[in-house]
Amino acid sequence: MSNSKNNAVIKYNRWGYIFLIPFATAYIIFQMIPLITTIYNSFFENYRDGLTIIGPNFIGLENYKTLLESGKLLTYAKNTLIMWVMGFVPQIVFSLLLAAWFSDPALRLKGQRFFKTVIYLPNLIMASAFSMLFFTLFSNVGPINSILVGTGILKESYQFFNHVWSTRALIAFMNFVMWFGNTTILLLAGMLGIDTSLYEAAEVDGANATQIFYRITLPLLKPILLYVMITSLIGGLQMFDVPQILTSGSGDPVGSSMTLIMYLNMHLYSKNYGLGGALSVLLFIITGILSLIIFKAMGYEKGVKK
């Protein structure tokens, strides 16, 4: 009797594995194999010189040495992080605020659906199209400069793309506009998942809105916040399309908006799989370390144990 019941459970459990097959196959083909071959490639000298293929010759850690010795990696990693932080801070602040407003039943906001759609819309535009738009808007002879000069705010047009911080700010701003809607929706989902009885209890105890937000909403939102932080960090480290298009691939002024992936992209011009692979592996390690730091800082492990 109990034996046949066990069999049924095993039979039923089998479906779990069957349903996992598509994911596992896709993961192995599109993630696992490329990951391993990238690491493998990073130990070889392998590129094209015109039509001549050089390599693959095994050269050990030479590619890593070249990358780390040039010191450029650090500069580009710094650029990437600066631009990510510049975009992420306003993004999380705005998203928290909007999510708190949307989820607060006391406010009775009208047209929620409309606003939720509108703030998500920038994310639907292709990043390259969006940066082309900004490139044209903010060019020396573009409409923004015409308005600024025309209204007498500026004497002559401001060259947005010739200054380090205006370029970085524009890139950060675009990332912010593109992603705050997405973050808002995620945080909103998290907030709506919090038991309303907690809010009611807090109100009965005489807590004001600020206290409720900091003492109840934020702590209970931690798992979602962590998810948002990590995915945004990974996305941020892979920042490419916006600065690439906005600076025509140059990462100027003086390479201050050159991100790690843009640097990687330069190596792919000559199909330099060796150096490109090494750079990707380093990027993988950096991402891993930073994610771990966020995990620790947010005290996620404690949360899991509970």
């Binding site: 015109g50 039509l51 450029k72 200054h163 380090v164 011009y269």
Partner: protein
């Protein structure tokens, strides 16, 4: 954020897959229709391959062949245009019973060369109908192909020195490999000169006559003095500092890369940097990139730009001649030699090693680049500067040949004068990247964001990332 990317990339992968399936189907259909055609057709090139594959980056050469190579007829096209007006796709036509397939990939972001490289590296294994038979190159990267076995010597294609004797020497320099073998030909020359705004010249210099304006720009010192006058009158000398780059870079005495693959900066290039920095600082020009909005402002009177440097194709096709109100449209550009003669652009035809249509490739090359009747037609119909000194001397002395854009001036006199002085012995396979990255890096210096040394360091970094074989 990541999830969105994953979804997006999945969607992209799916569309690519569908694209491939679509292409494959199309080719099959085309091939079967071709075999029925060939049964009916009768032509002399019967022992050769059935498909002639031509790789190119725009429709220019295709249009020339359509108009001037009498045996060619177009049969179908699936070209698509992108936002920049670049076209991509394939066009089919036929010459006798040979099917001609044009594979058009835009040059932007190196797409054309990437596509061509793959095809050429695969040449030995490809079936006869898929082999590259003929492809086009530009001067900046010509050596990359010419100095390898991928290109055929024109002699093997049946073209003799006698056939090419009237072609301009520089067009042959570009296509000569390190062993002195000529590997490609062009139907056009692109000698370039100084294009000036006649109205501005009249206002500031008091004359709009080419010979007299030339006196104000006859060498670089005089050119600088004129720039000062322009600035005082409220005009930019050129729209961007990069305008004059080609004048210097195509008159170098050392190539970008020496035999040991070391990058070297020619004195002439250094002179350009020095002059441009002074001019940008004096606000006589700007540090912006070419082909961008700022550069284009001078096509209109409001842009307040005195001159551009360029060949015939620049004022004929790129300066808004069709636009009401542009300087070109009202015929107010003038042309004079300028401080130094140079060339800019041009397209060369190469025969690919391994082609199964060598006879036809040779015939197209010979007809399009050596036949004086065809070349005369090209000048008359398309305003090209034909690559033949006899034909062009005729046009230079022909009073009836006038350019409306240049206010009735005959540009060929000036171009014929300039083309003799072009020397192109100092090129390398890496010129394209070097030129691009150098201008890009120097912008930082012109803007005052970096010192010359820092900008140079940036240039080396980028070029060495682009071409791993190079060092400095």
């Amino acid at each position: 954020m990541k999830r969105m990317k994953v979804i997006a990339s999945l969607a992209l992968a799916a569309t690519m897959l569908f694209g491939l399936v679509g292409c494959g189907g199309g080719a099959d259909k085309a091939a079967s229709s071709d075999s029925t055609d060939s049964a009916a057709a009768t032509q002399e090139v019967s022992d050769e391959g059935k498909v002639l594959n031509i790789y190119c980056w725009n429709e220019e050469f295709k249009n020339r062949v359509t108009d001037h190579y009498s045996d060619y007829t177009e049969t179908g096209s699936d070209l698509a245009e992108d936002d920049n007006g670049d076209v991509a796709g394939t066009v089919e036509g036929k010459i006798g019973d040979v099917k001609v397939v044009w594979h058009i990939t835009p040059s932007k972001d190196n797409a054309y060369q990437n596509n061509l490289d793959e095809a050429l590296l695969n040449q030995a294994d490809a079936s006869d109908d898929d082999k590259v038979d003929l492809f086009l190159v530009e001067a900046d990267y010509a050596l990359k192909y010419v100095d390898t076995d991928a290109t055929m010597s024109v002699e093997d294609l049946g073209i003799t020195d006698e056939d090419t004797k009237n072609q301009y020497q520089y067009t042959k320099d570009v296509m000569t490999d390190s062993n002195g073998v000529l590997k490609g030909l062009s139907w056009q020359g692109c000698p370039a000169a100084l294009i000036y705004n006649r109205d501005v010249a009249k206002e500031v210099l008091g004359t709009e006559e080419p010979d007299e304006v030339q006196e104000y720009v006859k060498d670089w010192d005089t050119y600088r003095e004129t720039a000062k006058k322009m600035k005082d009158a409220g005009y930019y000398m050129t729209a961007t500092a990069n305008d004059s780059y080609r004048v210097f870079s195509n008159n170098v005495t050392t190539p970008w890369v020496d035999a040991d693959k070391n990058i070297q900066i020619d004195d002439n290039i250094a002179t350009w940097v020095e002059m441009s920095k002074e001019m940008v600082d004096a606000k006589e020009t700007t540090s912006e990139a070419m082909w961008e909005d700022q550069w284009k402002t001078g096509f209109y009177p409001e842009g307040k730009v005195f001159n551009y440097f360029g060949p015939a194709w620049l004022f004929n096709f790129s300066m808004g001649a069709d636009d009401e109100g542009s300087v070109a449209n009202s015929g107010r550009w003038g042309l004079c030699v300028g401080p130094q003669s140079f060339f800019w652009g041009g397209t060369w035809i190469c025969g690919a090693t391994g082609t199964d249509n060598a006879g036809l490739v040779g015939d197209i090359m010979k007809t399009m680049t050596c036949d004086e009747t065809v070349l005369t037609e090209i000048v008359n119909d398309d305003d090209d500067f034909a690559n033949n000194s006899v034909v062009m001397e005729n046009f230079a002395n022909d009073e009836s040949y006038q350019s409306e854009i240049l206010g009735g001036q005959n540009p060929n006199k000036i171009f014929c004068e300039g083309v003799k002085n072009i020397d192109l012995s100092n090129i390398s396979s890496y010129d394209q990247g070097c030129n691009e990255k150098f201008q890009e890096a120097m912008k930082n210096y012109f803007d005052g964001n970096a010192s010359y040394e820092e900008a140079l360091e940036q240039f080396y970094d980028k070029v060495e990332a682009t071409y791993p074989a190079l060092s400095h």
